[in-house]
Symmetry: C2
Subunit: 105 residues, 2 copies
């Protein structure tokens, strides 16, 4: 199922692309924790996530302020540090303004 | 490997999220064709793609004009029509302005 974003553009999207290291190293447990946590954040609108050779997670937000607040969240900061130490060989974060949206059906 | 986007923000991203139908139905062949074609388009900067329960493809572009031109490309229009008929149960397209970017390492 795709994310159901109730807000109409303009709103914001954070595109997180990554390449994982080998092995789990506690990743799945933290991923579950962080997913639950992000869904509770003010301004969070939804999330789409997929992984093949690379992983892509897109989170939708109602404002840049909500994105900034989540970036500074204490548990999230711990996950970010572990991400750099253990889970990711490489990642990129892109902060985007969603200007238009359409879909099918 | 993640996309290497040489341009600094602001630039544009198109987030294409989808749920596939069952079976291939000619999808992989068209996906290969369209991937080669999009890489040749003026203004194309790179692409990240992954699929689990949902598929996410993010294409990066230097302008809204380049995105509009690609949307109207004849071969791409054929693929869009076949996508709605055969390959996708559901999709969303989001046109985004990338306002900031950072990464690691």
């Amino acid at each position: 199922m795709l994310a159901k974003v109730s807000m109409k553009p303009p709103y914001y999207a954070v595109i997180f692309t990554s390449v994982r290291t080998e092995g789990d190293r506690g990743y799945e447990e933290m991923a579950t924790t962080i997913k639950k946590l992000v869904e509770q954040q003010p301004g969070f609108l939804g999330m789409d996530s997929a992984r093949s050779h690379v992983g892509i997670t897109v989170c939708y937000w109602d404002s840049l302020q909500a994105i900034e607040r989540w970036k500074k969240n204490e548990q999230h900061r711990v996950a970010q540090a572990l991400g750099r130490r253990d889970w990711y060989a490489q990642y990129r974060v892109r902060i985007c303004k969603v200007e238009a949206e359409y879909g099918w059906p």
